[in-house]
Symmetry: C3
Subunit: 467 residues, 3 copies
């Protein structure tokens, strides 16, 4: 089960809530965001960010991007990067915000498909996006032989979060370290430890509630210096019901991408216990999707790169989380069309390489014009016009977006803004001669979204009918 030669880790989602609840996105609670409120955001200067806080656990490292930073605060997002050692267990926890996580390993590009899947315990592979609803407890385990890195993005202004606009992590075991000055990050304090939920209950009450002895309750309440990730020296032992293998086969074949949305509307019972004649039903809403495969890209441009969008249409749970993601790869010196995000903020995290990114605000001023590189984060606000050009080592990124059906408006290329403008409007708008307006409109007539290096000149001047 735990293949020591492959890079995976497990996730358990404790979906012990009635399946129907989670399947009902409306009933679950619509996510609503209200950003830039309370204070007015002056996004005059954006910049590539790196994590500000860091703490070590027994089995890994937690790096937190500064939630007080203007960019993250204005966009109402919280970003954490975790590195989990092999045999490391991220302890059970939940948070007040929905989140998307992207798993990867620095310096490697291949994802490996693994065989095992179980309704409660998911394999989270490199290149997977993992969607976790607010308030749902989960744990992770790295069964591979290499450290795994996960960048996790939380939407603190999600309407499901009825607490304040910070990221709060509720531990069910272990300890979390908090720093900074904002919200739950402890006003004024530089460091504070967050203990797990059981620690402060009256020991007698806790024993009674859990049906255990006071001594055992006390043991649970002991101080734990191991942090939020602990080593499982001898490897985690998991016992599965006998029918697991077959069940998985059947699921994969019969339901594929629709399993989450179809099956979960009713209830799927996969673990059947005969004790007391009561059967426990688990929910298998699909929570992950791989976005690392160029062969399944939405846009693939030879010599330029590829883009893959993951929206609620492909992963229905995103309709509940109101978040989506895009994976992008630009080859050396390739460039994107100028574009804006119609209905979402876009948080770019660079997984490899370097690129030059320009962002222009509503006043037509560049609020970012520089390089961002591997490990850095950039917030591109809604409607701001942006453009990326890869440096020689290429540019690979994952974008998290604050809308489950985020829409981009491309300015150049097929199905773009310029293509929708009559030539005479272009001419009058920019005071150009008609032939120049024609060039502006059709300069990238053949391209879609991303363009290879130095190809622009060749494509100029081709004959097109005026639309």
């Amino acid at each position: 089960m735990a293949s020591s030669s492959s890079l995976i880790f497990f996730l358990l989602l404790l979906l012990l809530l009635p399946c129907v609840s989670l399947a009902q996105s409306v009933g679950y609670g619509e996510q609503r965001r209200l950003r830039f409120l309370g204070k007015e955001c002056q996004l005059d200067r954006l910049s590539g960010m790196q994590p500000r806080y860091r703490f070590e656990s027994e089995a890994g490292v937690t790096e937190i991007f500064d939630e007080d930073d203007q960019q993250l605060q204005c966009a109402s997002v919280s970003v954490i990067r975790r590195t989990l050692k092999p045999l490391g267990l991220f302890l059970p926890a939940f948070s007040n915000n929905p989140s998307l996580s992207f798993g990867f390993e620095h310096g490697r590009g291949q994802s490996e498909r693994l065989g095992d899947e179980h309704q409660k315990i998911l394999h989270f592979r490199q290149g997977d996006i993992l969607a976790i609803p607010a308030g749902v407890a989960h744990w992770w385990y790295n069964s591979g032989d290499r450290p795994l890195v996960a960048i996790s993005f939380s939407d603190t202004s999600s309407s499901v979060n009825q607490l304040d606009k910070t990221h709060r992590q509720f531990m069910l075991a272990g300890t979390y370290r908090k720093e900074g000055s904002r919200g739950s990050f402890g006003g004024g304090q530089q460091y504070s430890s967050s203990y797990h939920a059981f620690r402060s209950f009256d020991t007698r009450l806790l024993g009674e509630a859990l049906g255990i002895s006071q001594e055992l309750a006390q043991e649970i309440q002991r101080e734990d210096p191991r942090g939020e990730m602990v080593m499982v020296r001898e490897g985690l032992k998991l016992v599965f019901p006998p029918s697991k293998e077959q069940l998985r086969e059947e699921e994969e074949e019969s339901y594929g991408g629709l399993r989450g949305s179809k099956r979960c509307e009713g209830e799927e019972e996969t673990i059947k216990r005969s004790s007391n004649g009561v059967r426990v039903a688990f929910c298998t809403a699909r929570l992950r999707e791989n976005i690392n495969d160029p062969r399944r890209a939405d846009i693939f441009v030879p010599h330029a790169g590829w883009l893959k969008k993951l929206t609620s249409q492909k992963l229905p749970i995103l309709g509940i989380l109101k978040l989506s993601a895009t994976r992008g790869v630009l080859h050396r010196q390739a460039i994107t069309s100028p574009l804006w995000n119609v209905n979402a903020h876009c948080i770019v995290y660079v997984t490899r390489g370097r690129g030059r990114v320009q962002v222009v605000n509503d006043e037509g001023r560049a609020v970012h014009s520089g390089e961002i590189r591997q490990g850095q984060l950039l917030v591109v606000p809604q409607n701001f016009v942006m453009l990326i050009k890869a440096e020689d080592e290429g540019f690979e990124w994952v974008s998290f977006k604050t809308n489950d059906n985020a829409i981009e408006s491309q300015i150049a290329g097929k199905a773009s803004v310029l293509r929708g403008l009559p030539v005479d409007v272009v001419a009058n708008a920019f005071r150009l001669r008609n032939e120049d307006a024609f060039k502006v409109k059709f300069g990238r007539a053949d391209g879609v979204g991303i363009f290879p290096a130095h190809s622009s000149q060749e494509e100029l001047g081709r004959p097109y009918a005026v639309v």
Copy 2:
């Protein structure tokens, strides 16, 4: 009609808006909340609250919980308790927030089923939850022979409320008294009277608009010292259309619990007037549901108590209000599982008895650890882990929740968090030997949600297969 030996009161909902409007939850306006905004909430200490303001009307008493209190302000809820004397009429009014009311009588537990029902005039019985949308005018009348108490909970951060986050009561007759320092409660002023809407219109214009003489308009505008509840000395005379009795029978039988959602999608005409050939259609969206009957509980545990949830699945109008409620009864010394509310705040009002309530925040610190008793209110924030143990007199409560499909995550018992964790994860999470992890996981294996007193020891150590 007005049975003097039974405890009822009437409610008229002036649903003169097109039925279709209310039936369309999306069109009506989605509720959206954004809590804890504007200022950051420090919920370091929760405590049982009692009403702070009180004013007397001719026919009853209005008691208002302090809207400025940290707990209520952070949760963005407003709570009012009213006691209406027999023959008392709560004058027509509406508010800027949706609300749920729970009717009860101190010291009595039996609800009585009454025969009469009319599409405009509902019987609101003891143990009923009554749902009132924002902006919809209504009145109540106590046709019984004992005072009736109603605790009303309003969601001031409902997105239907586009005014500020306070409770505003718009009277169509009578006077409302406001106190305190916040919002409409009159900055700085200690007391202020709110008059009904007709009072300040130009008398001539009002007469003209209503089609009455200026003298009569003037009479309507007179000062009224009776407050918001007035005595109807000789009893309220209501005249019903002849077919009412039959209509009711038919409705009850044919539509039952689905009447609100099914029939209202079209339009149900129950009062037909032939004047001018125009028929006035009234809407009968179901607005109430009784939650006081242990026989209809969701969870019933002998010697421990029972729980009944009222969500939008049972009462569809709650899908518009985005609120739900739970009725709970714990017998002497019974205890709940530790649990958290996944997607809602939970406002607990104790209707009888005393209980010890512990609440733990994201830092693992107890923000409440004490007794709350009959007549007190406690706000339990979303995701905070809580636990209730009844004292010897038992503990009965009603919880209002800020989500129409509020979900609880139980920690112990069947279908709980602990049951979902593999034994080896429990062992590694708490550094326990496997046999102790087994006890933690299965200590409450037989129970669901609430457990009887001192039963924990007996249930320990039973043989269970490891999952």
Copy 3:
């Protein structure tokens, strides 16, 4: 095409986004508003407003109502009035908020039906409401021979707007002038120019991205003093695909009012280009509706006037924008019923005449009691009770409402609050004799919504059955 004798202007909506995206209102992003937050609004005095800022472009005038004004800020709306000269082109732009625009010409009342329609280029006629989603680029052109006036209303607290609660206009060409002290209106600065998006990009990168020469990129980036509306001296030349005329006919006939919602769910391809074998699909979600025709009014009362509501039921795109509008005409001395808006703010813009408007708040105090006249704007907050009486020249207005299914609760007339109250409740509420309560209840028994001048006395005292 460009009929010089008729008053029209064109709109191009660059709906180059996948149609399905816009058709999915939920996926597009639900609009959510939270008004009156951040600061508490003291709406003690409302008043008719006129535009505060004004700037001239080559082809017209832009007049901006003060976004910092208490009324507009509390209601979270932004209002701009534009006058576009004949042959004037409003340059391509988009904004961070959804908006409704109403087109009219001062002093004229007749709208003219024009023949041409194209899926990309809409005719925006006098009396049309035009709905524009946030982040969608568009341009307008006045092909008529008279100046056209458009009053545009934006919902700055729309949840689709994830930027701050101001109106931000992103130009794709030309220049926008901003004034005032709030948000993007440049803190402290009195005047600032907003340039178009292309201006600040690195010239080399821009050329490369658009596939044009650096010289041409430089030309696009030139400073442009013409503002946001420019003259097209020789008239705009638009070339249409051959099948346009027929296509339009077919659409008009076959789909009528349902075209937007039905056809757009799939995808409608109307411009088919064979280049590269790829077909570009355009979306024809219906974006406009005429509300100027008394024959299609919802309420038409001889000698009193008429009302027409435009909600998402009639124009489905409003369900995405979460906005609606009402057109109202009151003849000389006619009066409305007192009423309140149940679930929306109401922003009244007077297109002609004068009227006396009274507005009463939750304390029963008149917060507005005076005249408003042509060209003025009044914000009527949700739930506040209002009443309008036309002066001798009549009163014509358009109301924008912050809910796509805004509901009004009429107090007098058929299907009104008073009609829903039993006579005995009216009598006890206002301490009236039964015969007077009867008069109050039935004083406007025959009317609906608006009543002609001085007709009230005649209608008194008619015999009605008590309900």
